[in-house]
């Protein structure tokens, strides 16, 4: 009777299996074609690994589909059950037929590949044996997996996808490295080169996994006299398909959200001076000059800021040295899957400015604490004003020009009059005046409020604006529906925005009248660019700079440019390129290289103004190269 069963399988599936054999060999040819034809940098056995992983799984899946899924879906197994043959024998015969064909295909392709390998590189018995062992074990596993899947009938594709997604989720969300276990561990990049035994863990888990699949398949075949498999094999309705697709899509979605919301691990910097306070940790590597003092001073600032804004904690801060930086440039790195503010600066630079650094650092720490919420345009000016104000805090009712340099910058940059529109369009304003000047203008606004309403009111306004950490999701649309600063101003200081703006303008005008003379000596700078055609598609950029009044003879000027993306966003300091010029020559220049028509570029000119302690710029202009 077994022979009859075998004959039946042969009659039923011979055409399909013949097609499969042809397709697998075509696949082998296709996979090996580049190596056999050209050699080049590809490795024969490495290509074979890819072949096994792709075509092997597809072939096993198809064989099992033909032998099991179609049989049950067509209910033809009922005829077999009418024969004097046990159900286990029926399943075992099918398994035997399928496994024979599958292993035959694998053996054939493996032998031919090894033959090519031997022809080309000579016989390496141990490598060949290990390749055969790995292919055999992996083939056995995948065939058994496909066999049990075939009993899942109409849900098998969904289970396949679910299995794949689960493996991905395990790999992404847990410490398990899926690519190093089971069949994946056996078919890793060592496959083509490893002459020794594969990792026992990988081999063992492959064999155990394969056995479990086989047991599962047999159980499915025998369970309730095979009726479970028969029920599962029925065709899926259109709605059922949609439901399954949505469930799978939902699974992917859930994994993505979980991955996104996963708690980040803390970053660490060993061998460093550490200063810890409640809610504040600062680490500075010992190789940085005066590391302990630097950690302590920074922690002092940050701890005071935390208390002032009533924040529960700040992310850990790591300060490391970069001696190729000048004293005016600082850099915050991106920590991959870790929490913290990692900063690089040249602490021993000749032009190091401690105050400027701490002002910048406070801003970055607050951005990290609020998960970039403080970068919103509506509260950005508050953030920048606060970081400047903090470094010169404690002035109380003193006039603004007590801090002469900040006052000069504020008067230089503040428009006449300063309106709510300037605050609403703060990024644009900042791009026209430069970051230091804009920060000083913002500082003057906070100082005006402090002078009118006192330090406590200012603190409450700042706490409500910058000291709030929102959950990272759509609820912020509701929570932040009232403009943060305006609402805080009314609630905490009892002041309408217009009244405060009027007070602010009044303060600035007062300072302007007192600093009229130095203000008159500050240069205003203009920059014009032109795109000279080199061909219909290429352009050359020429620039010309003009300033009035002329700065000191030793002042250097620079042309700054940055390539822009399709969407208008802030020009980041790291994207800016500089052409530096001495003051002696003509204020004109040409950029090296050519530009393609259609490119977007932002340009400006900058000049150092010692009286302000910073650069002033001509205002960034965004161009479409035409």
């Amino acid at each position: 009777m077994i022979r009859t069963l075998l004959h039946k399988e042969w009659i039923q599936h011979r055409a399909a299996l013949a097609v499969l054999v042809v397709l697998v060999w075509m696949g082998w040819t296709l996979a090996m074609l580049p190596v056999l034809a050209r050699g080049g940098e590809l490795v024969l056995l490495d290509q074979f690994r890819n072949f096994v992983l792709v075509y092997g799984i597809l072939a096993a899946s198809w064989i099992c589909h033909r032998l099991i899924a179609l049989e049950y879906r067509g209910r033809t197994q009922l005829f077999l059950e009418g024969l004097p043959v046990s159900r286990p024998a029926m399943v075992v015969v099918k398994y035997g037929v399928g496994m024979t064909v599958f292993l035959g295909l694998l053996a054939g392709t493996t032998l031919l590949t090894l033959a090519f390998q031997t022809l080309r590189h000579g016989l390496d018995a141990s490598l060949s044996a290990m390749v055969a062992l790995r292919v055999g074990a992996v083939g056995w596993f995948f065939f058994n997996l496909c066999f049990v899947m075939a009993f899942a009938g109409r849900y098998r594709f969904a289970i396949w996808i679910g299995l794949l997604l689960t493996l991905l989720a395990v790999h992404e969300l847990t410490a398990v490295r899926v690519n190093e276990v089971g069949p994946f561990g056996l078919m890793d990049q060592r496959f083509a080169f490893e002459q020794g035994w594969p990792r026992l863990g990988a081999l063992g888990s492959t064999l155990v996994g394969g056995t479990l699949c086989l047991v599962g398949a047999l159980a499915m075949g025998w369970m309730r006299e095979g009726s479970v498999a028969a029920l599962l094999a029925e065709n899926m309705s259109h709605r059922e398909k949609v439901m399954v697709a949505l469930v799978l899509g939902g699974g992917v979605f859930a994994v993505s959200v979980l991955d996104e919301r996963r708690q980040k691990d803390p970053f660490d910097l060993p061998d460093a001076a550490v200063d810890s306070r409640p809610g504040v940790v600062v680490k500075v590597p010992w190789e940085v000059t005066d590391a302990s003092r630097r950690a302590r001073v920074t922690a002092d600032h940050l701890s005071a800021v935390r208390q002032f804004l009533d924040l529960p904690s700040l992310p850990p801060v790591f300060l490391v040295g970069r001696t190729d930086f000048d004293g005016r440039h600082f850099e915050r790195g991106t920590l991959d899957q870790a929490e913290g503010v990692h900063v690089q600066a040249n602490f021993s630079a000749a032009d190091w400015d401690e105050e400027r650094f701490h002002s910048w650092l406070i801003r970055e720490v607050l951005l990290a604490t609020t998960r970039q919420r403080a970068a919103l345009e509506s509260r950005r000016w508050v953030l920048e004003g606060f970081s400047s104000w903090w470094m010169a805090a404690g002035r109380g009712a003193d006039p603004l020009d007590t801090d002469r340099r900040l006052a000069l910058r504020a008067c230089y940059g503040a428009p006449r009059p300063l309106t709510a529109d300037h605050l609403n369009r703060w990024l644009q304003f900042r791009e026209q005046t430069g970051p230091e000047i804009a920060a000083a203008v913002a500082w003057s606004g906070l100082r005006a409020l402090e002078r009118r309403k006192g330090g406590d009111a200012l603190r409450e306004v700042l706490r409500r604006t910058l000291g709030v950490v929102r959950p990272v999701d759509g609820r912020v649309l509701w929570m932040d529906r009232d403009g943060a600063f305006s609402a805080a101003l009314e609630l905490a200081a009892g002041m309408e925005r217009d009244a405060w703006l009027a007070a602010w303008n009044e303060e600035i005008e007062g300072v302007r009248s007192r600093l009229e003379e130095p203000l008159a000596g500050l240069p205003r700078i203009q920059c014009t660019v032109s795109f000279e055609p080199l061909s219909p598609e290429s352009r050359m950029l020429k620039y010309q700079v003009h300033w009035e009044p002329s700065p000191s003879p030793r002042a250097a000027w620079s042309f700054l440019h940055a390539e822009l993306s399709a969407v208008d966003t802030e020009i980041l300091p790291t994207s800016v390129q500089r052409e530096r010029h001495g003051h002696g020559g003509e204020p004109v220049g040409t950029l090296p290289g050519s530009m393609a028509v259609g490119l977007r570029i932002a340009t400006t000119a900058a000049i150092e103004v010692p009286a302000l302690g910073c650069e002033v710029i001509a205002g960034w202009k965004r161009h479409d190269v035409r």
């Binding site: 050699g39 390496d124 970069r322 991959d336 970039q372 999701d473 598609e537 969407v567 290289g593 259609g598």
Partner: protein, 627 residues
Amino acid sequence: MTPSALRMLCRKEFRSIRPFLFLVVGFGLLDPLFVLLSHYPDQADLGGWLDREAQWEAHLMMFFFGIALAAGLLVREHDEGTLAFLDALPLSRTRIFVAKVVVALSVLSVFPVLNVVSAAVFHGLSRTSLESAFPWQLLGAGGALQAAAGFLWFSLGLALSFLRRYSFLVLALLFWAAIALEEVGWMPIRWLNVFSLGQPTFHGRTWVVPTDKLLVQSAVALALLAWAWWRFRKLGEPGGEGRISIGRRRPILVVVAMTGAAIITIAAWLALLVWVGNDVSERLPGSVTYAQWRSSRATTERYEFLFPEYQSGTIAPLLEHADGVEAKVRGFLGGEETERIRVDLTRPLERHAGLAYWKSVRMSSHMALGDPETLAVLGHETVHVRLDQLSAGRLSDVFGSMRMFHEGVATYVEHRFFATNEPLARSRRVAAVMRSRDEVKVEEMVDSDLLRRRRDADLVYPLGEVFIAALVRRHGDDAPARMARALARPEAPKDLHGVGLWQDTMQAAGCRWPGVIDEFFAELDRLKVEHREFVDSVPRLRGVFVKDGKRLGVRIADPWPAKGSVVCRFRTDPEIDPRFYESPVPTGDTFWVDRADYPGSSIGFQVGVRRFDASQTIYEPWVEVRL
């Protein structure tokens, strides 16, 4: 035909594919829901949506939806016997076909609409004052290309649907054929790559739509649609179904046709194999062919060499010194003796002197075996092998992020132990030029793909060497080995990449990333001064893009340098592998390529200077030009 009958038909069609509409809407809402659950929606501007990966995902969805919707749209009426009811209506088959296609395309278009609308809403919430105009063109072009891709896949799916369950097999064969054709260098196949529509190309504020490619693909799609219409008209007619499609019953004619097709396919396949294997294309009249030499084998204590028999007379010096090479590498990187390293010298390599794979090395058969440079290459590749072993293969898993480490250590060891000073100076001159141009960026050094897209992937050699020299100076000779071992530690965090991976690895190895970076840039600055004369002698070249009928070219606007030669290379896409770059020989002062080989909406070019006193060509950054 009455309008009400057509309306009824459309309503019936809509009811029939309503579950599919739920599916499309469900998947279309996942993205906005994701933003609402895990991001600040008012800080989610269009940048994320324009990202290559996001567009690829959307186009992948269009592929699935297009094919799945088309699969049963027409043939199910026949297979389920409902076609007779439709035929009883006062409607022609053509009108039924049109109604089905229109309703299906309407449902398909829901996905791009949702995709674009959600992106527009989030961008609207996130706009800042820096934006002068709402980016309608970007949204429109992106959405239109998604919809177009949906139409193209739908047309293909509809044409294949008559093959019933074999349709997916044929689809897979079409994919594989396309891959094979691209692999053998048949470039026109790129015109038919629908997935390439999902690769955004921007010029200024404009998303450049690849109009030519879209026209070609639309023409093919319309032809497929016409074919599907013709087949649908014949569906159910006596003989109409059996002639071409494969239904449930298989007449003998179909079996014969299938067998014939299979035999022809196999024959064509074998012919292709033989053709490519023999490289017929190079067998021009009068050309000479030589028999292939057999491989020979020689073993030393630490290596097993495979080499062409004709080199048996020259391999002796290599065999004599090889174990010394391994001993030096092991002395530097430490570790136990392991089994022999297999070195394959039997084949020429296209772009490299050597390559390492786990415990194997391949070196080009064109190398002069007695030359000291061969020992240097062997040392270089042996370092790769040992690093892979020390890291238990993990270095290969994170190759993109750690390529600079891999190549840096290998180049450092090569120069320190096996080369004269001159090759080191040649390498360091390249590093000095890049630094003087301010083109050494940390984010590119730890991202091999980014470096390749912006500048030149091979910069990892000179820059990596300087970096490893800085690492060794700071943390000692064993620092590279410690780092490789640190990667292998079981508790190493997964999925780290870029700077994060470097920091974690160096930290675990007792080294300090910032300190080494600091040292690295300081050393580059020193090299800049040391090689000032060379740096000044390498001109900045200005490539001017020009068109001439069916050719595209780059003219060098500046006088050609007195020293060295000018080169220019082209690419179709920033993502493609460098082996597909085209490097033409100049005609006069211009480098020309054929327009037909660049089907996309843009072309990239990069000019550079090749000097004998530098280890590699020094390139300007890539320039992308709209076509």
